[in-house]
Amino acid sequence: MPEARVIPLHTDDLAERPKAVDDVGPLNGADPGADTANQDAGTAAAKDEPPAEWEAALADLLAFARRRILGDYQVDDFGFDADLTENIFIPLLRPLYKNWFRVETVGMHNVPDVGGALVVANHSGTVPLDALMTAVALYDDHPAKRHLRMLGADLLFRTPVLGSLARKSGNTLACNEDAERLLSSGELVGVWPEGFKGVGKPFADRYKLQRFGRGGFVSAALRTKTPIVPAAIVGAEEIYPKIGDLKPLARLLGLPYFPVTPTFPLLGPLGAVPLPSKWYIEFGEPIPTDEIEGDADDPLLVFNLTDQVRETIQQTLYRLLGQRRNAFLG
């Protein structure tokens, strides 16, 4: 992408990149390390501690199984099951996050520890893994372990299995009522305003932001006076490079598109394995909405603010791309 490389917008945020890569190492090794320590309790120090840790883990697991069997857990009004999300969904996604995409986050301090905020990010990758990875990032890498409550398309909630999993992991339908209810109750809400236009765009259009819907997310933030945190995700475009679209098949299946990638459907199920690109997620400076003059029903104000958010994300994307040498190595 030559046009992306010419923009010289370097900051020092990524200067410590090599160090961050090293950080991933010990984290990966943490789990097998604990296991081997249990098996050979040769050193005096390892003798007391590891069994206790191991027993605690087993006790946690059994307690979790008991809660699930007896239905003894809490679900909020939206159907968010924190117990299931923390113990099943995020642990399942974590290897993908840490080892496969090696996600690095920048500017996590821009996401508030408490209270409502609206995270707005670019959407890409044919399959919306970027949304899942952002949710893992905010739970694992944010000091307050925040749950991202995402707003999804109605196609998602209409689909069996996926729809109920989406609700249980804290997502809800993208509508103003739900967005405002979540924001005003102090939740961290995630939106991908490009929707299917963004996630299903051809590979040739990578990192070019699509139209930002109708700006409904901005009016929700304005009404609830919550800050907007623009987020830029780099790396997700390369996981499934969409080089073709089987439109008749998509229409038949009721999908917005039916992707053709270099490996799918050519290699069958193997084509469903995402390419191991290197990811960066940068959370930008929050845009406060509590001091903005005017109200949420003023379309011009909403459009301007939408443009401001979109422009911020686009510039951040270009800067991150300028610093990236290789899509797979970073």
Binding site: A59, D77, F78
Partner: protein, 359 residues
């Protein structure tokens, strides 16, 4: 607004649990002069005993005779609580619709003529919001369903609400209260859901899990009583705090879920209906797929009532009150957990012993 306490109250559907409970409470109140209970069938014996001085009027609200009852007794408060959700119980779907919709029209026509009527309370249902994947997570009173309920109980309720609104316009001097109840549950009441959760193996729709909001029977009676005794016009959602997932409720009741693919639901419905066990009408199935949760802020702040039982507590009260015997007893699960833990601890201790010898 005038706060006149009621003196002559007419309650419809008094042979059923909720209206009967309301009538018995009103009858116990000496300030209320008369309580008239109307239904086509006499109440069962256990309810009859509780009714006290309630005067039973065996009449069909579809019959113009009801107008004479209202005018001759000088009824000032009408509680229309006979809305039926159960086609099996009321002799088939067409009879149920006739009773619900035509009955309401007759009752409202009679009320419109009667000068004495000052207050109308309608027991409606949150089913009027429908249930679909495109709905917001919580319904407020101002919301209308994305698509009108296509049939059954919800359609009846939506039509009845329409007629009641029309009545309110024609008789602006009458205070009209519409209460949209979520699904009722409790140790005594008989509803579609109480029969559903009592099945040892509970059929669900594969790939879906609904959010269920419940209201305890005692809270429902209290809300009806408050609406009867005080003037609180408007539409109010009535439901307990919190949500249970359908799968979670089945586990809490100690039942076994039986997920049925979407396509096979029809066959299961026929099997269960012929066995008179439960109702799996298309509308009920949509509810089992997506569920429905209502916002009760208006109930708490404007109506001034906070349900004593949350959804989870109401459900647990139902489970213990009905003496539902769990298929897997919870004590057995806890025992198994403890046994596995001690087993693991002894195993790890045994492994540690030889190590210590070496040191």
């Amino acid at each position: 607004m005038k706060q006149v306490p009621p003196s002559v109250v007419l309650v419809t559907g008094v042979s059923r649990f909720l209206p009967a409970q309301l009538a018995s409470r009103l009858a116990a109140e000496p300030s209320i002069e008369r309580v008239l209970g109307v239904d086509t069938v006499p109440p069962p014996r256990d309810l009859l005993r509780q009714l006290g001085r309630t005067e039973l009027v065996r009449a069909d609200i579809r019959n113009p005779h009801i107008a004479k009852v209202i005018s001759s007794a000088g009824v000032d408060t009408v509680v229309h609580a006979s809305l039926s959700a159960n086609p099996v119980g009321s002799g088939g779907r067409s009879a149920m619709k006739e009773m619900n919709v035509i009955g309401t029209m007759q009752l409202l026509a009679a009320c419109q003529r009667a000068e004495s009527v000052q207050r109308l309370v309608l027991k409606s249902t949150a089913a009027v919001y429908g249930a679909s994947s495109r709905d917001p997570a919580l319904f407020t009173e101002a919301m209308t369903p994305k698509e009108l309920p296509s049939g059954g109980y919800a359609k009846d309720a939506a039509e009845i609400e329409g007629y009641v609104r029309g009545f309110g316009r024609r008789r602006p001097d009458v205070s009209v209260t519409m209460l949209r109840f979520t699904n009722l549950i409790g140790p005594q009441i008989e509803t579609v859901l109480t029969r559903y959760f009592a099945l040892p193996v509970v059929p669900t729709v594969l790939g879906y899990d609904a959010r269920v909001q419940l209201l305890h029977e005692q809270d429902a009676v209290q809300v009806l009583e408050r609406a009867t005794r005080e003037e609180l016009p408007g539409v109010f959602n009535v439901g307990g705090a919190g949500v249970l997932m359908l799968s979670q409720a089945i586990r809490r009741a100690g039942r076994l879920p039986f997920p049925v693919p979407d396509m096979a639901v029809g066959a299961v419905d026929r099997a269960f209906r012929s066995a008179r066990l439960a109702d799996f009408s298309p509308e009920q199935v949509r509810f089992l797929n997506f569920g429905r949760v209502v916002d009760t802020t208006k109930l708490r702040e404007e109506f001034g009532f906070t349900p004593r039982w949350g959804t989870v507590e109401a459900f647990d009260d139902y489970v213990t009150g009905r003496h539902l015997r769990p298929v897997i007893p919870p004590e057995r699960v806890r025992e198994a957990e403890q046994r596995l833990l001690t087993l693991a601890q002894t195993a790890s201790e045994m492994r540690e012993v030889p190590c210590q010898k070496r040191v």
